[in-house]
Symmetry: C2
Subunit: 202 residues, 2 copies
């Protein structure tokens, strides 16, 4: 299981990606490879050995993040009372999307949107799109079960997601301090779920 003679060390690639994330988040897409290498305590050449180019590095970074973001994206559990399930889903979305770290990533995608549109699209599919789809699916099931009345689950899912994420995302992306702490997350999740149930209750 140990690697071959003088073989590459996977942990070092991770270190490079970590450094890239930190630097790119702070300085934007124009940050230099040299700076990233310095932060990773690695020579510039090593970065090029492992990731072919700057674009390759960013690509790998986004790939890793996409995996990271998709994993915990559970659909709401139909077993619970719908309002509870919705509040839980809201909490998850806020935890995933409304943190400074996630905002930094979104900034990155937006910057990349111009000259690397595939990356932006990949994120959009993995993050926002997937979460909406799962939410819509849940709503459709609740509708069938007669616990809610949702004729257009896709639109309803957009509404709920917008209620929860809406403002915070914009502010964070623009680097404005939106002051959202744990209590705020709780308050918004609960209230959004409650209002949504009023709007779509059986």
């Amino acid at each position: 299981m140990s690697r071959a003679v003088g073989q590459i060390d996977h942990a070092k690639s991770e270190a490079i990606l970590d450094a890239a994330m930190e630097i790119l988040a702070a300085r934007g897409l124009t940050a230099s490879i040299e700076e990233i290498a310095r932060q990773a305590r690695v020579s510039k050449q090593t970065v090029y050995n492992r990731f072919r180019s700057k674009a390759g590095l960013v690509e790998a970074l986004v790939e890793r993040r996409v995996a990271e973001i998709t994993a915990p994206l559970e659909a709401p559990r139909a077993a619970e009372h719908p309002e509870e399930a919705l509040a839980g889903f809201a909490r998850m979305m806020l935890d995933a999307a409304a943190t400074p770290r996630s905002a930094a990533f979104v900034r990155l995608y937006v910057q990349a949107a111009t000259d690397m549109p595939d990356l932006a699209r990949a994120y959009f599919e993995a993050g926002p799109r997937t979460s909406r789809r799962r939410l819509a699916q849940f709503l459709a099931e609740e509708h069938r079960a007669g616990r809610m009345v949702v004729e257009d689950p896709a639109m309803a899912a957009e509404f709920f997601a917008g209620m929860v994420i809406g403002s915070y995302q914009t502010g964070l992306m623009l680097g404005v301090d939106v002051g959202l702490d744990a209590a705020g997350v709780e308050r918004i999740s609960a209230e959004a779920a409650r209002r949504f149930m009023k709007a779509y209750g059986a």
Copy 2:
């Protein structure tokens, strides 16, 4: 009233700003001044004569846009039936925020957020913040008038704005075609207003 001998021509500044908008929207903040000058049919030097630097140019551009965006931001009119007023406000928000042109601007602000945070903040205040504030004010009035029940107008305003804008904004910023035409705007505005009234109706 006519300008002095060989004096600067205001229209030319406008032409430069127009060109800057088009080029920056298409290529991002890294687009060159030369390209902008070419597009404006003006020499590079002239750009520097009027706007001190690239940062100055972007600043002026954002200033103009902020004025442009703030002007039509009417608060909903309390006289109408609240659902009608809300639908109208939603239409206005979508027209203002969910167009490719506006998306290009937001992309610009996000890119600027790292190294020109004041610009991003100025936009946030003039656009999202102001519209939310006016909406919250309207909701508070409806509450006082007994036509709705809105204990927390600020949060309710965020909810409504999020429902309306939410998903489209994200997609547009990422350069994903969200396929929102006039009929879509109408459908979303009407439905969002209807659901919101169910959630906050008297």
